[in-house]
Subunit: 185 residues, 2 copies
DNA sequence: ACATTGTCTTTACACTGTCAAGTTGGGGGC
DNA sequence: GCCCCCAACTTGACAGTGTAAAGACAATGT
């Protein structure tokens, strides 16, 4: 039995590992509980059930997602060309989807769920990308550009993740940079 | 009991209705069987198990998906501006994702599966979009443009489907046309 | 010291996918 | 016509799942 009070976090971590190692089908209340060394009903107690646990895992996923994006942004020296910053961050977006497929899918599957914490986590990533776009268009509103950029990036991430887009061969990521440049104008 | 030989199609239809009416969680071997009026082991017999049935449903989904895209294309008069054709077809893409969320998710979840029939269905949609792009760029290869266009469209479809992208308000589909025009150049 | 609250376990139940064995019914060889 | 055989389908059983109720137990507040 773990130290009192830290079980929820431990369960989320167990769920994340299970998700990475065995995919979506491995994500089971009982297996998570077993990995955390507690009974199978303990997770349901803390999260209200499997759906609640999934939301919690997705929320945590969006936080590390945000962390990855911010790390990519901060890895560049101050004063870097804003387009280069956006490109670097968005490639981190695509790489996240590729390296953590099951988690990425779970995250966006849970999006319709109305949960304050999940909503806040998503919003944080939204604002990060919005600021990057705002740096590129000083004369007009950033939201339309952000919408297009986000969609393009998410689409590349989704198609590349399944390695199924051009049936057979992988997505040419080099085309992403050109497409992004066209959108930015 | 249905007429001999048509049970597989009947099971796929039952699965599609179940998917539309109750979402991914309603898709169960036993419930599909009950809806088709057969025993719970009948679907497993024909499709080898739940995964096989899901692949069959996804394959059928891609066929009606292709039908929707082709219908949108053919609804325009001959000689229409190629860009307008591409736009119309892609809006049908986005609308399909919105109106059949569970099926759309299942389809792209099954993409990594290596199944000849599924692969062929996906390829058909691929070629349809490729031809539309080829009509727009006569001087250069169409695949890079197709990749970008497909990703942009798929991204809009995915974000719009969850109505979760700009957290709270729906995706502005008007921005899609502008973005597409930028990509086409 | 005592009651209370929150954490966790135990137990039970309905539901799921899969497998093995049985039943049935129709089509082809004789 | 008859029979065999095979495919379609059913039946029954099993392990695994989520959920709910009820209990055990320790920490905490009074």
């Amino acid at each position: 039995m773990p130290t009192r009070g830290e079980l929820p976090q431990l369960l989320i971590q167990a769920g994340l590992s299970l998700l990475d190692e065995e995919g979506a089908e491995g994500l089971t209340l009982r297996r998570i509980a077993a990995r955390a060394g507690v009974s199978h009903a303990a997770p349901a107690h803390h999260f209200g059930g499997l759906p609640g646990l999934k939301v919690a895992i997705a929320t945590h996923g969006f936080q590390t997602f945000l962390g990855d994006l911010a790390a990519a942004r901060d890895s560049l020296p101050q004063g870097t060309d804003p387009f280069q910053v956006l490109l670097t961050v968005n490639l981190a977006y695509i790489r996240f989807a590729e390296s953590r497929r099951a988690l990425f899918r779970l995250m966006f599957d849970q999006l319709p769920t109305q949960d304050p914490d999940l909503h806040k986590s998503v919003l944080a990533s939204y604002f990060l990308l919005k600021d990057l776009c705002a740096a590129l268009v000083t004369d007009r509103p950033a939201v339309p550009l952000l919408t297009a950029v986000w969609a393009l990036t998410h689409g590349y991430a989704a198609l590349n993740m399944d390695s199924a887009y051009p049936p057979g061969s992988p997505v040419q990521l080099s085309t992403y940079e050109d497409a992004l440049r066209l959108l930015v104008g």
